[in-house]
């Protein structure tokens, strides 16, 4: 049975009082709860995405021994708000020969694709929209909408730069989906299910129980997943679709104002989502290292904080990589995917399967500490 935030809350007593408040209309209550949670999550993620731009600028400045944004607010913290205001107030320019419908559609698709993934992201054991049985699979599937959006954006602009960027982006995202999916498949094999609840629940306890340390293949799979995910989110060193030195700005060259903002926001939130997925799949998710008995609200808050801490650390690593490594060539990009990552991912999958058969499903920690 699919678990949702509503079904989680219904275990507790205050749910009944809430129900009474809504005149025993279960559907209305559930709808309201979903709406509130969705708004919280979207707001949170949008803030994180906005702060992501700030973080990126600040961290890159730090790496390059500059100061970075420091005028708007304390330490320039409100810079992203200023940017947002600027974007919203800008003129919305559309090229004369653009394909209007697709030009409008593309940024929406990007944002929809990213926000749809947030529905299954396990911020904590309860604070997730829905814990689908096919959660991981759903996440992979729905995030490929971004690739489509990139392609359509590039096509609809009717510009050479955009076209090239869009085609590169689409081919890159489709290609890198394969190693990423196969790495995730290895983890679903270990967990015995595709739901995030199952996967995160399996990694309870000390970091040694995380799936990244389950066996050597899972350890490699993490890096394959992380590399592929970087490429899927068009981050450096895989930022060929928007390579500013070659393609001006790639698929969103012709976009201005809030449409451009959608693309940018989608990119930053997707990075956050990818890091969150990595944390949930490999790094123990929102689990507490120790079992403590607390009330529902505090424990959820602690779990969310743990999840966000891990995710933002990975987020830092992503930005760090972006400002450290140079960009790959197109042929190198493709050969990395097809000649190295995909075979490695397949070997990891087979290796995990063999490990499970040979060691009867035990992890390395189980064998070391005994279970």
């Amino acid at each position: 049975m699919n678990q949702t935030v509503v079904s989680y809350l219904s275990q507790y007593e205050f749910y009944d009082s809430l129900l009474a408040l809504f005149g025993n209309n279960q559907g209305l209550l559930a709808f309201t709860i979903f709406l509130i949670v969705a708004l919280i999550i979207v707001g949170l993620c949008a803030t994180i995405g906005g702060l992501g731009t700030y973080a990126e600028r600040k961290i890159s400045a730090d790496l390059q021994q500059r100061i970075g944004p420091n005028r708007v607010g304390p330490y320039g913290l409100l810079q992203f708000l200023a940017d947002g205001v600027k974007m919203m107030t800008k003129e919305d320019v559309m090229p004369f020969t653009a394909d209007k419908m697709l030009f409008y559609l593309a940024p929406m698709l990007a944002l929809v694709g990213v926000f749809a993934t947030l529905a299954v992201l396990p911020f904590s054991s309860g604070f997730a929209m829905a814990d689908l049985n096919v959660g991981v699979f759903y996440l992979i599937a729905i995030s490929s909408l971004v690739g489509l959006a990139v392609f359509l954006g590039g096509y609809a602009s009717n510009s050479k730069w955009s076209m090239l960027g869009g085609m590169r982006g689409a081919s890159q995202i489709i290609s890198y989906e394969i190693p990423v999916t196969i790495s995730i498949l290895a983890i679903t094999l270990l967990a015995g299910g595709m739901s995030f609840g199952t996967i995160v629940g399996m990694q309870k306890g000390l970091p040694i129980n995380w799936f990244i340390f389950h066996n050597p293949f899972a350890f490699i799979a993490f890096f394959v997943f992380f590399t592929g995910a970087l490429a899927e989110t068009n981050r450096a060193p895989f930022d060929l679709p928007e390579a500013e030195s070659e393609l001006v700005s790639g698929y969103h060259t012709e976009y201005t104002g809030m449409r451009f903002g959608f693309f940018a926001l989608a990119e930053y939130i997707e990075v956050f989502v990818v890091c969150g997925v990595a944390v949930a799949l490999f790094l123990g998710g929102s689990n507490l290292p120790v079992d403590i008995k607390l009330d529902i609200i505090p424990i959820q808050i602690i779990e969310v904080v743990i999840f966000l801490t891990k995710t933002l650390l990975l987020y830092y690593v992503v930005i760090w990589i972006r400002w450290t490594l140079p960009r790959l060539r197109v042929d190198q990009l493709m050969s990395v995917c097809w000649k190295y990552l995909t075979p490695m991912a397949i070997l990891n999958l087979v290796g995990c399967a063999i490990w499970l058969v040979v060691f009867n499903g035990k992890s390395m920690a189980d064998m070391v500490f005994g279970h």
Partner: protein
């Protein structure tokens, strides 16, 4: 309630997009409408409790087939072209004209009538079973079915996919002369 809403939205999306696919004059838009239709079908699957099939539908069509078609459209160019070859439907542009649409609709009508006759008799013969409003997870059962009852088809489909992969690569490869 949710299911009814989801069904209504999905059905609307599916049918509307399918008709749009048929009537729009722009092949690119046609592809995008197809995407909408396919997502709608995924929603319909969800209302039927087929969660795995629904996600697979999105995965394969959104992530693969539609992008592939968009690529194909882009590589073959959107230029309109009128064939010089004479045929029963006369001269027709790439996206069809009123004669071709007339014939297409006629054939569709014939098919619809046929199908209505067929399906109504089938439904009359097999009254629908009643079932509860719960949706048990299908993932585990599907996995067992795939590697037990349908293992031959499963393996054959892998061979088919490999053949399609290699065949597509060979066919589309430009020949050096």
């Amino acid at each position: 309630m949710f299911i009814q809403i989801l069904f209504g939205l999905s059905a609307l999306l599916t049918i509307g997009c399918a008709i749009a696919v048929a009537v729009t004059k722009n092949i690119m838009h046609s592809c995008v409408f197809l995407l909408g239709s396919l997502i709608g079908i995924a929603g319909l699957y969800a209302t039927l409790g087929a969660d795995f099939v629904a996600v697979t539908q999105i995965m394969v069509y959104v992530g693969g087939v539609v992008i592939l078609m968009l690529f194909a459209v882009m590589l073959t160019g959107g230029k309109d072209y009128v064939s010089k070859a004479q045929n029963l439907l006369g001269l027709a542009p790439n996206m069809g004209n009123k004669w071709t649409y007339t014939i297409g609709l006629l054939v569709s009508l014939v098919f619809i009538l046929t199908n209505v006759k067929l399906v109504s008799s089938v439904i009359k013969a097999n009254p629908a079973k009643t079932f509860g409003n719960e949706f048990p997870s299908t993932v585990n059962q599907l996995g067992h079915l795939l590697v037990k009852d349908h293992v031959l088809a499963f393996e054959l489909s892998s061979v088919l996919l490999l053949g399609a992969l290699v065949g597509a690569a060979i066919i589309a490869r430009p020949r050096k002369q």
